[in-house]
């Protein structure tokens, strides 16, 4: 008997929107991050698993049991929302006790223990309105975990937080979920959260699950250009095999690792942080090194995005200090290297997405 969550060919209609034949598995103790842009159907999927929507077809199986006949309150699924949805008329302790009381548990001890475990025992008598976003997030997690759920669904739980709080909470959230040992479905549109939290990643675009698998497998071999774009890869241009381990992209010959497949419809993609910049004075004959011109320099805080033009349009992420060192100003020449290991040949979406 399989344990954990299993979605089999799940199809859901929500107004004009359709979520098509989603098949997924999450083993206990593993975190699956569901990535997708707004409107991809992530929330519809969560609502269906939680029991607030009826699927058109397909099965939701949790710990070997089909959930179709169970109402939401009998599914034992913990929910954490983006805006936390804490009960404003109850104290923190009242919020965490809610699920225990609903199951007939009189004692407040399990709730207090859970608050202590998450380091927020001191918040017990406070009202949600008087808590910071990070505190509310912890309370929501405590409320979801205290009833010992068999699955936790998190709908963009960090999206409403400011950046420093989010960065601190991300690891803590991951540790807490893993320690709880339940399967977790974590919905986000933030690929950083996928990188740092996920065991497995699934990408949902336009109501269809485009790809699912272990996190590294997805980042290494995205199924199509839509998925790759969503995982933070940028498009270099259509790639044609050029003999051996090389391709031509917009007339430029680039080395890749391994022999490119003969099939057409491939696009060369890369990550801007993998691009290595060096002074234009150096020889440009090293592997995959191009002499380009700086088009624009955009500050992103600690890092700077440098847009380069030339035979290929390339963007590079560099640390702030590299800007004066390499004299990165619009119009200046610079050498950009695209290491073969950083290049991905990705099928165009819709052609080979199978």
């Amino acid at each position: 008997m399989s344990s954990g969550l299993e979605l089999r060919q799940l199809t859901v209609r929500a107004g004009a929107f359709r979520l098509e034949t989603v098949t997924l598995q999450i083993a206990p103790g593993r975190i699956l991050v569901l990535l997708g842009p707004s409107g991809a159907g992530k929330t519809v999927l969560i609502e269906t698993i939680a029991g607030f929507r009826r699927p058109l077809s397909g099965q939701i199986v949790l710990d070997g049991r089909d959930l179709a006949s169970l109402p939401a309150e009998a599914r034992r699924i913990g929910l954490v929302f983006q805006q936390y949805a804490l009960f404003p008329h109850l104290s923190v302790l009242g919020n965490v006790r809610f699920g225990l009381r609903a199951r007939g548990e009189r004692s407040a001890e399990p709730a207090r223990a859970m608050l202590a475990r998450l380091g927020i025992a001191g918040l017990a008598p406070r009202r949600p309105a008087n808590l910071s976003g990070g505190e509310q997030q912890r309370v929501a997690l405590a409320r979801a975990l205290v009833t010992d759920p068999r699955l936790v669904l998190l709908d963009e739980p960090l999206a409403a937080l400011d950046a420093p709080t989010r960065d601190g909470l991300r690891d803590e959230l991951g540790r807490t979920l893993r320690a709880a040992g339940v399967p977790a479905l974590y919905v986000t549109h933030d690929q950083i959260e996928a990188h740092s939290l996920a065991d497995d990643v699934a990408v949902l675009i336009g109501g269809r699950l485009r790809q699912a698998g272990p996190v590294q497998a997805l980042f290494d071999a995205p199924a199509d250009t839509d998925v790759a774009r969503f995982l933070g890869l940028e498009q270099l241009g259509p790639a044609a095999p050029a003999g051996g381990c090389s391709v031509t992209v917009c007339g430029v010959r680039l080395h890749v690792t391994g022999k490119p497949p003969a099939a057409g419809g491939l696009v060369a993609m890369y990550r801007a942080e993998d691009v290595q910049l060096s002074p234009a004075t150096e020889a440009a004959d090293a592997v995959n090194t191009l002499r380009l011109t700086v088009k624009a320099v955009v500050s992103l805080g600690p890092v700077v995005r440098v847009e380069l033009a030339g035979p290929l349009a390339v963007a590079a992420l560099v640390f702030r200090g590299a800007v004066p060192a390499l004299n990165l100003r619009p119009g200046q020449p610079v050498c950009a290297a695209l290491p073969p290991a950083s290049l991905r040949l990705v099928p165009v979406a819709g052609v080979c997405s199978g």
Binding site: A72, F87, G99
Partner: protein, 284 residues
């Protein structure tokens, strides 16, 4: 300068201030007119009565009992409206209603129906030979000329106030709160009683205050269903017919004072400025 302004269609420098001033002047004037229209008759009515006449009215047993009857039945109507109105409001706000707009239209119908017509219609249904009245008659409940009839008339005309107030309150609750409750193991009863209802409490109290106010002021429907026993508005009308304007003034003022003071208390309770909710909210 002005020529240039005229050419470009812009107003000279002095005009924006003048136009702004004019806006506020017109707004205040029209708003003031409307407020005066409400307050003046009530003030004039109060001035028409001397304290001794008012004291006479208080001493008149018939007037006292009419006012007491109105208070009692309006309060009872507010409770009945809450018990029957909250489920309907929930269905309109959250339920899967096939013809929601039609149902909403039915709820608001009493606003449009003349109240004398309401009385006639209710009488057809609730009289001893009516569809409902014939059944309730077996239980010993009759409506014509009884307090049941008074409550029925009051209820009919105040349904929209109750239902719409509660519906708006429930619609204002984030549905995710109810979803969270369900996911935590609370079934529909528990979710409603522990989450939806407490969060909609303000709306329920506001609806009851409005229902009370609408009920205590109701004349048309009540006068047809139950002219006797006389509620206060019916009594005032009867006094006016018998003794004229001046004689009905004292009873009117007394009724006015009682309704206004009770309504003010009800409203304060509903808005949470007094009562247990107020202390719980800001602090802690």
């Amino acid at each position: 300068m002005t020529a240039q302004a005229a050419r470009t269609g812009a107003f000279p420098a002095a005009w924006p201030g003048l136009r702004r001033g004019l806006f506020y002047a017109v707004t205040w004037l029209l708003a003031g007119l409307l407020l005066a229209f409400i307050v003046l008759p009530l003030v004039r009515l109060t001035l028409a009565t001397s304290p001794s006449q008012l004291a006479d009215a208080v001493r008149t047993a018939e007037i006292r009992s009419a006012i007491w009857l109105s208070l009692r039945d309006a309060a009872l109507t507010a409770v009945v409206a809450a018990v029957l109105g909250i489920p309907l409001a929930w269905l309109l706000a959250r339920g899967r209603l096939p013809a929601r707009s039609v149902v909403q239209g039915v709820v608001d119908l009493p606003l449009a129906v003349p109240h004398s017509v309401v009385g006639i219609g209710l009488l057809f249904v609730l009289s001893r030979r009516g569809w409902v009245g014939a059944q309730t008659g077996h239980l010993g409940i009759s409506f014509y000329g009884t307090e049941w009839g008074i409550v029925a008339g009051m209820l009919f005309v105040s349904v929209p106030f109750m239902v719409d107030s509660v519906r708006l309150a429930i619609e204002g609750i984030d549905p995710r709160l109810e979803q969270a409750a369900r996911s935590l193991g609370a079934g529909p009863w528990l979710t409603f009683s522990r989450v939806t209802l407490p969060l909609a409490a303000r709306g329920v109290f506001a609806g009851m205050a409005l229902t009370y106010a609408r009920s205590i002021s109701e004349f048309g429907a009540v006068a047809i269903l139950a002219y006797f026993p006389m509620t206060a508005p019916v009594k005032v009308y009867a006094l006016y017919l018998q003794n004229g304007l001046q004689q009905s003034a004292a009873a009117s003022v007394l009724l006015l004072l009682v309704t206004l003071s009770t309504f003010v208390v009800f409203r304060a309770l509903a808005s949470g400025r007094v009562g247990p909710r107020a202390t719980r909210h800001g602090h802690e």
